[in-house]
Symmetry: C2
Subunit: 426 residues, 2 copies
């Protein structure tokens, strides 16, 4: 047996369904060749003798997935929180991202980001870089070393940027993308490319068409933004007057899901019924980013509806619209946002339960990466060990209550261990 | 010169007005006999030779005030987040508070609470205990030792409680209150009593009348809850059919502010124009508790309106409706909630700015305790030293941006020092 076969012992918790937690106290979670072999009350005969890490009373949960974040924005997170999306991009974000032309700046910044991502409960992430090829490759080098499985996108943007942050033409953007894909080809085990048109206002039709050609040729996944802010949506409608809703601005170029084009769209705060129907039909993943939607005063996405209607949905930190890289925190944020959505917008949708929030962060988003986010047999072994002993209390709690406390109160200090596809990160 | 005369050196930041920060880099903040003597670019001649603590590049801000929290609920914070107010009280809160009849439980629980309050950025707090006199006195003993200045209320509740948490009659509730006030009389320097009718549904008319008599005799301040949740408000209207709005249920007994009855009312999410007018007329302090209002799906209080209309308003953690004891976090929560309020409820009110959120947490709430919450001359010297060196970043920030980062990202690890009325806590 190789080093990817072992057991963890503790209180094991994962989503049996979006509405139900499976909790096994004082049990064994077996990893066999990097895949989950199951949860057992006692270690089965056939696994006797494999290495075992006894976590004592710790909780063991599936690794969390961050479906949407901007690595270069980690450097200025939690500042400049006073503007809406479009002004925020022009005032704070584009100037900051332009700094990544300077590799020494990128190195300092991305090292901090990669270190913090490694310490977090995140085991899978889909990441925006900047338009700069060298800095994007540097980011991928650093992420590769973390052991976290990531998709990373060199950003495409050939219009409506700023003098310091825009590619000169669709041709240049595509040439740089091809160069990037060639330079990283075969280079990494833990990180892989994802095509990343920033959002419709940043990408000319020609750029979208050519990106779609690359997508069809390579089968690469796609990530972008969708229906985040009313001002943005109105602008897209002007830019694409023939479309009936924002999602069509991607779909008209074949960059909106479907079997051969796995796609993540961040936000979906204001998706219309038609747009929601197409998202569902194409299997597009929604990256629900509640903290960002609050900080940029975008609004509250109807996450409960998406879940109830069977759409693919997970959570995103959306650094730096969001300030915290913690997907535990994003669970709490999602539940809290859904409560205000119920109260202020739509009393017919109950708020997200703890179970549902946890599901979004694990199996919900994880499935974009394959069989990820669960401890059912055959799933890739992504696991996080949560230690709540630093959260003192005078009473005992059930495992579910302990999970709830960790979601609301926990931070990186409570993350005692992490495994990705059977490899121990720490 | 005594030990309460000294200087702190660092980047000094306080509210010049609700809309404006005063920031002095590399400056001296002088404490003279426990009062603030001013902020100086160089140490004035007359203070040469006084002890000085050089905080390097740390930020120094006024101590924060928590206008509303329930100490006994700290033990179960971050669990049971799935119910609205009234069900939450009956299901989780009343059973937990009943445990404080057991002094050994109270000791364990309150020690944890007092330790965490001490480590926080809070220098003043108004605290609900339980109805139990002995446990309330124990809490006051422990809070006394923290050095934080607190008001603590033995809770009054003689109706609609639970079999395990209710006083048998108004007479018993009053007798216990009198016993408590007698037993603690003259005992403490840092903690003091505040009359605490839980909320109208918990207090009979007779109890309110008799509490008012105590209030008039002693001049003690009062704290309670107001207009938090639609179900609660409808219930109060049934219980008090002659009142025109919830606030009148207190006001009819003389327990709603005015010159001789300093009063804090928590929440005010749904205060009517009439209620708001009376709050203003009587100088009642609003404890704005955004995290709690979100967690209990109560809604969003119009904090911006209260501030613009000149009402007295500060922030409350409202443990355990709120999960975090951090008033830095409460600033972020208040700003975030105000953004959603703007977007979803009232686009005529701009969200709270960073400056306004900071003001609420310092001078806004602090003024309930006297000249507290500012570094202007003559103010009681409450100061917190914030160290952001553990929040790495590749670039430099302005002092305002550093403050913003600490508000969104900081926790107790970033609190490097604390002073209350000139006494060093750590």
């Amino acid at each position: 047996m190789n080093t990817k076969t072992f057991a963890l012992k503790g209180t094991i918790c994962f989503s049996a369904s979006p509405q139900e937690l499976s909790i096994a106290e004082d049990s064994w979670l077996v990893c066999e060749n990097g895949r989950c072999a199951g949860v057992f009350p006692t270690l089965p005969e056939k696994y006797q003798g494999i290495p075992c890490r006894d976590t004592g009373s710790c909780l063991i949960i599936p690794g969390l997935t961050d479906l949407h974040l901007h690595a270069p924005q980690y450097s200025f997170r939690s500042t400049g929180m006073d503007l809406e999306l479009l002004d925020w991009l022009n005032t704070y974000t584009f100037p900051e991202e332009s700094r990544y032309a300077d590799l020494s700046y990128a190195k300092k910044a991305y090292r901090i980001f990669a270190d913090d991502l490694k310490k977090s409960a995140t085991t899978r992430a889909s990441v925006f870089a900047t338009l700069h090829v060298e800095a994007t490759e540097l980011l991928m080098d650093l992420l590769e070393q973390t052991g976290v499985k990531t998709l990373v996108g060199k950003v495409n943007m050939d219009r409506n940027g700023s003098p310091v942050l825009q590619e000169a033409s669709a041709g240049e953007s595509i040439a740089e993308t091809e160069r990037w894909l060639t330079e990283i080809s075969g280079k990494y085990r833990n990180t892989a490319p994802i095509l990343t048109p920033r959002f419709t206002p940043s990408c000319s039709d020609e750029l979208m068409r050519k990106l779609s050609e690359i997508q069809k040729r390579t089968g690469l996944p796609v990530q972008s933004h969708l229906s985040e802010n009313p001002g943005e949506i109105a602008w897209v409608q002007k830019l694409c007057p023939t479309t009936h809703f924002y999602g069509e601005a991607y779909d008209q170029f074949g960059l909106f899901g479907g079997q051969n084009c796995p796609t993540i769209m961040a936000h979906c705060v204001y998706s219309t019924d038609q747009e929601i129907a197409l998202i569902k039909e194409r299997g597009v993943y929604i990256a629900h980013c509640p903290q960002s939607n609050t900080n940029l005063a975008s609004g509250i996405a109807p996450a409960k509806r998406y879940l109830q209607e069977g759409l693919n949905i997970g959570l995103g930190s959306d650094i730096a619209g969001g300030t915290s890289i913690s997907i535990l925190r994003a669970i709490a944020d999602a539940i809290q946002a859904s409560k205000l959505h119920w109260r202020l917008t739509d009393e017919s949708r109950q708020p997200l339960s703890l179970e549902e929030g946890f599901y979004l962060a694990t199996a919900g988003g994880g499935s974009f990466f394959g069989k990820v986010g669960s401890f059912r047999e055959g799933f890739e072994f992504d696991a996080v060990i949560l230690d709540d002993s630093s959260l003192p209390c005078p009473r005992t709690f059930t495992p579910r209550e302990r999970l709830e406390r960790l979601i609301y109160l926990g931070d990186e200090r409570n993350i005692a261990g992490k495994y990705v596809e059977g490899s121990r990160i720490f």
